[in-house]
């Protein structure tokens, strides 16, 4: 059986949530296969990320290179080509870095590429069977990848449960030498422009009242802000609301916005794209209000109400006001 490698994202010395998910994704491919974490970066932040990875993975490969202080897919790619054995399975998270690195890496490894996988059905002979979604999750497909030359897989964040125990005690092996020197870069990182923090920091909110397309019109925002006020909640939103410029970017929940962990998350008129769900998976209690009872948000929510938010929210507000006297 092929070896499995998991590419670990990390920031400020801490492993990304996906590091805990890829180990379970690997287990779904083949519970018997050896799994090695690959962590690239530089300096003490890299070391602490490696120690964290060692708690999750039985083996950790470290690539330490000053050129990777800000990890650039173009710099990492040849190093991975140098160390990943032929025929291996390499898992990466399907997010902005994975999307930069994985397709080109598959070419350089002459491996198959399976993008945005949500589940695996295991290995059959020299085929890896996986499940993908198409058309915003309206349909799913079974896909088969030829494993003989190895496979690069990007795994959808949140699709696999995280490893809660993190009870491994992996050994960190320094592969920096084998990985080789950094190439001359044709793409050079300049800086990160941080999104302006708005009036509220929704990542710190305990209660979030979040709105999506169901709000229909900018003026209806008032309804939500009024309710938020009586509940003591902050208002967040899904991407279309920011695209329409009705709320500032800093209020956007989802993979291209903020990841939030409130005690209670109330999704109002949000259908629940996977990008949005990716931003709320840490919420212990999710309420969804949507007039379409088939909306995917109800799959992710704990409690659902099938109602038009424009009618439902004002009534809810009235009831809460009454309660509070």
């Amino acid at each position: 059986m092929a070896e499995i490698f998991a590419y670990i994202l990390h920031k400020d010395g801490k492993a990304d949530d996906t590091a805990y998910e890829l180990i379970n994704a690997a287990a779904k491919i083949d519970p018997e296969a050896p799994v090695t974490a690959v962590v690239a970066g530089s300096g003490s932040e890299l070391d602490s990320a490696c120690s964290e990875a060692a708690k999750i993975y039985p083996a950790v490969w470290k690539i330490d290179n000053e050129a990777l202080a800000y990890v650039n897919a173009e710099a990492v790619r040849p190093m991975l080509v140098n160390i990943i054995p032929k025929g291996a399975v390499l898992l990466l998270p399907h997010e902005h870095f994975g999307m930069d690195l994985a397709p080109g890496l598959s070419i350089k490894l002459d491996a198959a590429y399976l993008p945005d996988v949500v589940d695996f059905e295991g290995v059959e002979g020299s085929t890896l069977n996986a499940i993908r979604e198409e058309f915003s999750g309206m349909v799913s497909t079974h896909v088969a990848a030829d494993l003989s030359g190895g496979v690069v897989v990007t795994v959808r964040p949140g699709a696999f449960a995280p490893d809660e125990d993190a009870a491994a005690s992996g050994e960190v092996v320094d592969k920096s030498g084998d990985a080789g020197a950094a190439p001359a870069l044709m793409r050079r990182y300049l800086e990160t422009l941080v999104a302006e923090v708005g009036e509220v920091d929704i990542t710190k909110s305990e209660i979030l009242l979040s709105i999506g397309r169901g709000i229909e019109d900018e003026e209806n925002l008032e309804i939500v802000f009024d309710l938020a006020k009586v509940m003591g909640a902050d208002v967040s939103c899904s991407r279309p609301i920011v695209d329409a410029k009705w709320l500032e970017k800093s209020r956007q929940v989802g993979t291209s916005g903020q990841t939030v962990k409130p005690k209670v998350y109330i999704a109002c008129g949000i259908s629940g794209s996977f990008q949005h769900l990716g931003g709320i998976k840490g919420s212990p209690f999710i309420v969804a209000v949507n007039k379409n009872p088939k909306a995917p948000i109800f799959q992710a929510a704990d409690v659902g109400v099938a109602a038009d938010i424009l009618e439902f929210l004002p009534e809810l507000q009235e009831a809460i006001e009454e309660l509070k006297g």
Binding site: E216, D217, E218, E219, E222, A244, L310, E311, P314
Partner: protein, 686 residues
């Protein structure tokens, strides 16, 4: 006999001067007009020489009789008085000019008794005009009605110009009166026969006041007042084309050439047929010169009175549109690029120049501005033309691109499948009660085609209205059917949002489907579809709005209505723009409502041709305007103020906007909206 006073026409030097002033004045005026006409010559064609009788009738009613003026009572009456005075005094002023070099000149026909009558008339006219000018100046200078204010972004205030012109008018009246008064006073002192001066008039007051003045003073006043009048008159004439008072000259032409077909949309280019449109290099209005000459004349004719903007719903909700400044900004553009002296400036694009994109998309084409304009200035065709230019450049907001593409691909703005167009007939309860024929002209035939259109086919809430319409049609014993999936969006807003070619495709497809259906009459419950079929389509069987069908059914006792049971309900009827203003159907829907025994109905302040647009239909539902509040919200408040708690509409878009406004205004439970078809359906005696 020695004359008691020497008039300018008696002495050679003053005669020469009095001849030079009009020569120079007329010369300068002719030059200015020639410069002003320059852009009109470069403009696009406009066919306005047809139906002369109708046009002359409009001139009599709207220009001479100032029919629209009293819609604003104080300003209107002041204007009528001023206008009437001007008409009377124009003869006097011209004869006065001629008197300067031709002593004793009298217009043919104005000697003798007629002359006396005219003289009295002109004395009072001058007095009246003087008083009106003073009152108007006080109103403009001290009370400053809000409607004249110019928001900073639109340009400079014109109060100064208004006061100046009123001052000039006052000077003309005073000098004209002094000219006669000084002569009459001199005659009185000399004991000769005193010329006729109307008692109590301005001239009469001056005459009394000058009774004891010396000969020299009177002679001086006589001469000076003549030349003051002469100079002021020609200064005034040449000043008119420089600003908003150009309307004094252009109004008669503007009314004569006014648009005669309300609710229609002008062709892309006059004289270019639909089949030749592909050959046009460019579409719509992108530069000032792309306007038609009549539209430029509109700009010149704007009196900056602000009535359009005061009635414009887009302006009322704080959208970046004020129709008045559509005209004024274009007029100023014209003045700047076609200056009185020097070379004409090269043209600059209108969008991003004098107009903003959102300004142009903000218009719901409700027609309130055009209804109000005393000068019959057109706005909708200009909006459509500018939008055509923007569509041609690809400059369309993202929020409108989606529904437009969906209409192109699927025939409806929602992108729903064609086969679902008749799904409203499949609702469980309805299906058991009625089956609606889908006309194909062969197996399934009917006399009447019910043209449903997109919103009534696909929108969940509006489908209820659609089913009510079907039920009342059946109750009235009408043999009807629908087109089903061969029906496309009527294209009413597609056309008015500037996508002419897409509209034409829809029109052609619908026309073919309608003709193939074999129906001999068409009925629709959607005023937008109604207006499209009547004004934008050709070669169709007669088209009716459901309110007309219902009125006939009620009058012919085809349907019987139960009395209104709930006496707490007070109804008010909201005139949909495309039924009312654009098609003049005001009374018929009211008759239908009032046919319900015991129903109580009140009128809103803004009703009939002053109805306030609910927010617009068709593509306007998709547009995301910049606004402070919503039109529907204001409309619901108006209904509330009128004491109503049920708003009756006769348009699906009004229903969407008004129900939405009731929700967002927190008036649920207090206020409801119902469509005319639903109201009748509910009161059907079955």
């Amino acid at each position: 006999m020695e004359p008691v006073i020497v008039s300018p026409g008696m002495l050679l030097p003053t005669q020469i001067l009095a001849l030079l002033i009009p020569l120079a004045g007329v010369g300068i005026f002719a030059y200015i007009i020639a410069r002003r006409v320059a852009p009109l010559v470069r403009a696009k064609p406009d066919f306005r020489f047809d139906r002369i009788a109708a046009r002359l009738k409009n001139v009599l009613k709207l220009w001479l009789a100032q029919y629209k003026q009293p819609r604003y009572m104080l300003a209107g009456v002041l204007h009528i008085l001023l206008f009437a005075g001007f008409l009377i005094l124009s003869i006097r002023s011209i004869s006065l000019v001629i008197l300067g070099f031709h002593a004793g000149f009298v217009f043919p026909g104005l000697d003798g008794a007629a002359g006396h009558v005219y003289h009295v008339l002109k004395d009072y006219a001058a007095t009246m005009v003087f008083v009106v000018a003073v009152v108007a100046a006080i109103r403009r200078g001290i009370f400053k009605p809000a409607r004249y204010a110019v928001p900073e972004k639109y340009g400079k205030d014109h109060t100064g110009e208004a006061i100046l012109v009123l001052g000039l008018i006052a000077i003309l009246m005073v000098s004209e009166s002094l000219f006669d008064a000084s002569k009459a006073a001199a005659q009185q002192q000399a004991g000769v026969e005193v010329m006729l001066i109307a008692p109590g008039s301005l001239a009469w007051i001056f005459k009394q006041w000058l009774a004891n003045s010396s000969d020299g003073t009177l002679q001086g006043l006589h001469m000076v007042s003549f030349f003051v009048h002469d100079l002021t008159f020609f200064f005034f004439l040449c000043f008119l084309p420089l600003g908003k008072h150009f309307h004094v000259i252009t109004s008669i032409f503007n009314v004569f050439f006014m648009k005669l077909d309300k609710g229609s949309v002008k062709p892309v280019r006059w004289g270019v047929g639909d089949d030749q449109l592909d050959d046009l290099e460019t579409f719509g209005v992108k530069n000032f010169e792309d306007f038609t000459w009549k539209h430029m004349l509109d700009f010149y004719s704007c009196a900056d009175c602000g009535r359009c903007s005061e009635n414009c719903p887009a302006n009322a909700v704080g959208r970046p549109l004020s129709p008045r400044f559509i005209s004024i900004k274009a007029r100023d553009y014209s003045f700047k690029h076609y200056p009185l002296k020097g070379k004409f400036a090269p043209h600059e694009p209108l969008i991003g120049g004098i107009y903003e994109e959102d300004e142009i998309w903000s218009c719901t084409t409700c027609g309130a501005c055009e209804e109000e304009c005393p000068l019959m200035i057109e706005y909708i065709d200009k909006m459509v033309d500018i939008r055509r230019g923007m569509v041609d450049e690809g400059n369309v907001p993202q929020s409108l691109q989606k529904p437009l593409m969906a209409i192109e691909k699927r025939g409806n703005p929602y992108g729903m499948m064609e086969k679902k167009r008749a799904e409203w007939t499949q609702e469980e309860a309805f299906k058991e009660e009625l089956s609606v024929k889908i006309l194909d002209g062969k197996k399934e035939q009917a006399d009447t085609l019910y043209f449903v259109d997109s919103i009534s086919s696909y929108d969940d809430r509006i489908q209820e209205i659609t089913r009510s319409t079907a039920r009342v049609l059946a109750a009235a014993g009408i043999d009807y059917g629908i087109l089903g999936k061969t029906e496309k969006d009527s294209g009413h807003e597609v056309r008015r949002f500037g996508e002419e070619m897409l509209f034409q495709e829809l029109r052609d497809q619908n026309t073919e489907a309608i003709v193939n259906s074999g129906a001999t009459r068409i009925v629709t419950a959607d005023p937008h579809a109604f207006n499209a079929l009547v004004k934008d389509y050709n070669g169709l069987p007669p088209v009716e709005h459901i309110s007309q069908t219902l009125a006939r059914a009620v009058a012919g006792k085809k349907i019987r209505l139960k009395p209104e049971e709930d006496d707490s309900r007070i109804y008010t009827y909201h005139d949909p723009c495309y039924l009312g203003r654009h098609n003049g159907i005001y009374d018929i829907p009211r008759q239908v409502i009032d046919a319900i025994p015991g129903i109580r109905r009140v009128e809103m302040d803004r009703c009939r041709d002053r109805s306030f647009c609910c927010g617009g239909g068709g593509l306007m539902l998709f547009y995301e305007p910049i606004e402070e509040t919503r039109m529907g919200k204001l409309r619901v408040e108006m209904a509330k103020e009128a004491g109503a708690n049920v708003i009756v509409t006769a348009c699906p878009f009004c229903m969407v906007n008004i129900e939405d406004a009731i929700k967002t205004s927190g008036l649920e439970g207090e206020m409801t909206a119902i469509d005319l078809s639903e109201l009748i359906d509910r009161h059907l005696e079955r």
